[in-house]
Every structure is written in structure tokens, then in C-alpha cells.
Assembly symmetry: C2
Homo-oligomer: 192 residues x 2
């Protein structure tokens, strides 16, 4: 029994190594640089080993996305719990969200830009994704305003943040005025 357990442990450890390495490589050189060959070389195994853990590259991206969702949820909760009052909580949430996207561009891409084979906004959506959305709704729900469904409001606010994050990172918006944009967004959307 103990031998099998050790093998399972080693296998799980190797899987973590794959995900961590993919993420690291993606953050360093972009997802285009994350090829199965390079990834295999970095973990010091051959390519087919990757396929004994994941169905393909897409699933590896998905694994990075799930890891990122948990971290983002934690970052958002940490920021909001340190803020006083609904208005300041929402502002802190927005800053934390955009900060996470800017600091972890590859993870953010895995989450919202690339195809990681994950289901969204559905029954079988993985728990970390649901929880990340829940983390947003916890603070945003209280400023939705009268008669506005908290979920709907959260979706709209989230979409706005997502738009700012992606357009800024893609060079469509200049980063200089980022703070002003967030300010404006929070002022208008949140009913404090």
C-alpha cells in the first residue's frame, strides 16, 4: 500500500510542477512560448508525460486558470476586508482586480482570454470560478441599488473592469489615466 501511496504523491507533485512551470513560462515569455516541448524540457520529462496528466495543452491552461481564480478571489477579499464602508470597499475591489490582472497577465489570460476548456456561468462551472465571482458579489451586491439584481450588477461591474484590464494590457488604453478611469467607474456605477 505504501508504495502505491508514494507513487500517487509523486504523481500529484509532478502535476503541480507542470502547472507551476507552465504558469512561470507564460508569465516570463507569454503563452505562445508555452509549447509542449519546452514545457516537457523544463520539467525534465518527455512530452507524452504531459498527456498522462492532461488531455492536452488546453487543459493545462485550464489548470492555471483555476489556480489563478483562487488567488484572485483571495486578493479581492483581502482588499475589501481592509476597507471601510461600501464605497471604499468597491474602490478597493476595483483596484485589487486591475492590480491582479496587471501583475499576472498570463494568469489573467488563462482565466478570461484563452480557451482553457472550462465551463462558465453554468451548473458544472468549477468551484474556484464560482467562488471568484462570489468574492466580487460580496462587496458589489451591497451597492447594486434598489431594485437591481445583485448578480446582474456584479456582471456589469465585472465586465467594465474586464474591459479596462484587457484594453489597457493590449495597448488600446494608455495606462497613465488608469486611476482616473477607476474613480469614474466606481463613482457612477456604485450606488453609495
Amino acid at each position: 500500500m505504501s508504495v502505491q501511496e508514494r507513487k500517487q504523491r509523486e504523481r500529484a507533485e509532478r502535476e503541480r510542477l507542470i502547472v507551476a512551470t507552465a504558469r512561470e513560462l507564460a508569465e516570463q515569455q507569454g503563452w505562445d512560448a508555452v509549447t509542449t516541448r519546452r514545457l516537457a524540457e523544463r520539467i525534465e520529462y518527455s512530452q507524452p508525460v504531459l498527456y498522462s496528466h492532461f488531455r492536452g495543452k488546453r487543459e493545462i491552461i485550464g489548470a492555471v486558470a483555476l489556480e489563478g481564480a483562487a488567488e484572485m478571489a483571495a486578493a479581492v477579499r483581502a482588499a475589501t476586508s481592509a476597507a471601510d464602508g461600501p464605497r471604499e470597499r468597491v474602490a478597493a475591489l476595483a483596484r485589487a482586480y486591475l492590480d491582479f490582472a496587471a501583475r499576472n497577465p498570463a494568469v489573467y489570460d488563462a482565466l478570461f482570454q484563452l480557451d482553457g476548456g472550462l465551463a462558465y456561468a453554468q451548473e458544472d462551472t468549477p468551484e474556484p470560478l464560482k467562488d471568484a465571482f462570489a468574492a466580487l458579489m460580496e462587496s458589489l451586491g451591497e451597492v447594486a441599488g434598489d431594485g437591481v439584481h445583485p448578480g446582474l450588477f456584479t456582471e456589469v461591474f465585472w465586465a467594465s473592469l474586464h474591459g479596462l484590464a484587457t484594453l489597457t494590457r493590449a495597448g488600446r488604453l494608455l495606462p497613465e489615466d488608469a486611476a482616473q478611469r477607476v474613480e469614474l467607474l466606481v463613482d457612477r456605477l456604485a450606488m453609495v
Copy 2:
């Protein structure tokens, strides 16, 4: 002279054919299906011909993006000019924008998602892109509110629309409540 002119005409015509075919193929089967081989086969020329018109695949995407920018600007202007009053104009703009994104997903991707090698928010930004942004600002500028820079407001509103468009198309948001989200967004952001 006339012979050269004819050749130039034919060459320009073929370039249009390439762009149109790339766009068509992308709309039908997604940009992943737009390979230089398939594209060459569809226009009934060999691959290297593509490279006599464009530096590479990226530039072809860029050409589709520019074409799309002009169309989007026209669509937005058509919608806003048919609406009465600032509030209704902004609502019409939002609907037209999201409608364009939904009806031309591949073009929208070429514009804002993929790398078409185009410069954004800079001096040397191509005219169609500047004009598309101008089309948005024409209607959005008048509802920016006191003391808010029209350009900044347009950026924020645009980012919100972009977020809704991309998240919806990527399956991150369910399309059923799309109309409600637009309503909410316009209500809150526009100072009517």
C-alpha cells in the same frame, strides 16, 4: 502605361480578395482555421502570393481589422443619428456596438482581441481606428457630465461595452440578460 495600370488594378483587386476571403473564412470557422495554406487555396493562388501583399498573417488580420473599424464606425453613427435625445442616443450606440460585435465576431476579434500589428492610442494610429473612437465620442462626449473629460469618459464607457461583448461571446456571461445589462450600464454611466 495602360498595361501597368491594369496590372495595378488587378493586384489591388486580388488584395481585396485576400482580405475578404480571410474575413469570410474567419467568420465561418474562426481565426484558427485561417491558415496561409487554406487562404491561398481559396483565392486560387499559392502561399507566397500572400506574402507579396502582406508581410505575414498578422498584417492580414490587421487589414480585416481596419475594414471592420470603418464598418463599426458607420454602424454606430447610423444608430445614433436615428435616435432622439442624448440618453436615447447613448442607448442606441451601446446596442449598435454590441450588435456589431455579436454579428461579426471574427472582425471584432481582429480589432480588439488579436494582434494585427496596429498601433492604438498613438500618433501613428491608422485613421479608421481613430475615426471609430471618434464616432463613439461624438455621442458619449455629451453625457460625460460636468468636469469629466469626454475622452476619458468615452474610454470608460467603451471599456465597459468591450467587457460585455467579450465576456458574453466567450461564454462567461449568459446572453439572456444582455439587454438588462446595457440598460443598467447606460442608466448609471450616462449623465442625462
